[in-house]
């Protein structure tokens, strides 16, 4: 039986790992390659790097992080943030990442998903979705709206529609981030996660709001997620990956315990 995946997320700015709340107040918490290695050894099932470098030489810095990580860790990892073209995808994949995650650029140019899937295969293409709860309207019938630019720009696009559209275009996986829950450590957005996960045939990674092991249990059961993204709760030592997995295992969730 397929295990539920526990995936630490590393926000990388100028080649350093940072952590902020609701995309603000970023502070330096370490070297991404060191952290990737530590999580690999601690039993992470996969890793996500999210590049939030703003400068123009960003790509080179991130590619270097990817290349060094790929030489040391032998589990899948994906890279998101600023992937705008097939060339960006190629650079990251050839440097050793397993998957690329597209978010803003895919909303602005959905062909990026289909072209990426055609050239590199669907299994490489993760759709990152930043979602905000709104009042349901004829335009946003699900009551969840797609936002871009790190949550600042509402797009008038229904999140449920966009998830299904991304599947049609060839996305192989969805990383679903609730802007409302992100960084709060008060739990994942269960209603949203369940709605999307039940609507699409591809795996869904829940993101945003993890603070306690119970939160992962909730989103992997009630929320129907296939994987859970975590950040603060492991970055600052509140939990080890093993503690989270042991807890989930005790509560009857299938997780990978041997590594």
């Amino acid at each position: 039986m397929l295990s539920k995946r526990i995936i630490p997320c590393l926000d990388v700015r100028n080649g350093r790992t940072t952590k902020g709340i609701k995309f603000l107040n970023n502070i330096d918490i370490g070297d991404p390659v060191d952290m990737a290695r530590a999580y690999y050894e601690a039993g992470a099932d996969e890793l996500v790097f999210y590049d939030i470098t703003a400068s123009s030489d960003r790509r080179g810095i991130m590619i270097d992080v990817v290349r060094r990580t790929a030489a040391e860790i032998f589990i899948p990892f994906s890279v998101g943030g600023g992937i705008r073209t097939l060339e960006d995808m190629r650079d990251v994949l050839l440097a050793g990442a397993e998957k690329v995650s597209v978010n803003t650029a895919a909303v602005l140019n959905p062909d990026l998903i289909s072209e990426g899937a055609k050239v590199f295969g669907s299994q490489c293409i993760v759709l990152g979705m930043d979602v905000k709860k709104v009042s349901a309207t004829p335009e946003i019938p699900s009551g969840y709206e797609i936002v871009i630019n790190g949550g600042r720009t509402p797009m008038g696009i229904d999140a449920l529609w966009w998830a299904k559209e991304a599947v049609r275009l060839g996305a192989g996986e969805i990383c679903l981030n609730s802007i409302d829950a992100d960084g709060t450590q008060e739990g994942y957005e269960i209603t949203l996660t369940r709605m999307i996960s039940e609507a699409v045939p591809i795996p869904v990674i829940a993101s945003g709001g993890a603070g306690k092991a119970e939160h992962l249990f909730e989103v992997l059961t009630e929320g129907r997620a296939d994987a859970a993204l975590i950040a603060s709760m492991v970055h600052y030592g509140a939990y080890t990956i093993k503690e989270i997995k042991d807890y989930l295992h005790q509560r009857g969730i299938q997780v990978r315990l041997t590594w």
Binding site: M1, L2, D45, F74, I75, G96, P201, D226, A227, T258
Partner: protein
């Protein structure tokens, strides 16, 4: 010389890196003449069977693979490389290499079973094999696929995995082993399999 066959089917970087971590600098090649000189062949790949077979034929790599198989060179197929070693694939209805008899089939779509099968899953080994020696019993392996190899002879199935159905996830016959999962992405247990493969002389008593 350890050769990784490059036939434009996905990313070979991770396989190359994993072998490097084991101290082996592999030769990545699309040249049949280079494949012919290999002492060991890794045949990875992701993507569609039809396109992959087309590329293999255009580059005469199909013949080169058949020859190394007949010459008892140890071969490791990974993912798509574990599928197109059979006669034919459901995917694009492609005619494949036919190193072993059998067909590659689509994982059936069922409620609650996500396709692609993506993530960590166990393998139940039916018999022993030098390449899969010394693995922890409850170890898990990283899978990403929508199709699976179904060899015609049950004796060719070394291990099976559950995802909606029970499907062959490890195939072994003579000097050929093939995993539907990615050993290069399966952490320490994956590296153990690769290390075993690098030490294997290609013999396997059925």
């Amino acid at each position: 010389m350890v050769v990784i066959i490059d036939y434009q089917a996905g990313n070979l970087t991770s396989v190359e890196r994993a072998l490097e971590a084991l101290g082996v600098q592999a030769t990545v090649t699309a040249e049949p003449e280079v494949v012919a000189q290999a002492s060991r062949v890794v045949f990875p790949g992701v993507g569609a069977a039809g396109k992959a077979m087309q590329t293999l034929r255009e580059r005469r790599l199909d013949q080169a693979l058949l020859r190394v198989f007949e010459n008892a060179v140890p071969i490791l197929g990974i993912c798509l490389g574990a599928q197109i070693i059979l006669d034919q694939s459901d995917e694009n209805d492609a005619l494949c290499l036919g190193l072993l008899p059998g067909r590659t089939r689509a994982l059936p779509r069922q409620t609650g079973v996500k396709i692609p099968h993506m993530g960590w899953n166990q393998v139940r080994f039916i018999r022993e094999h030098p390449v899969f020696n010394g693995l922890p019993e409850l170890a898990e392996y990283y899978f990403v696929h929508s199709y699976y190899p179904d060899p015609a002879r049950p004796a060719m199935v070394l291990g099976v995995t559950e995802h909606g159905i029970s499907f062959p996830s490890v195939v072994a016959w003579k000097n050929l082993v093939a995993t539907q999962f990615h050993p290069e992405k399966s952490g320490r247990v994956g590296l153990k399999i690769l290390a075993n493969f690098l030490a294997w002389d290609g013999s396997y008593a059925q």
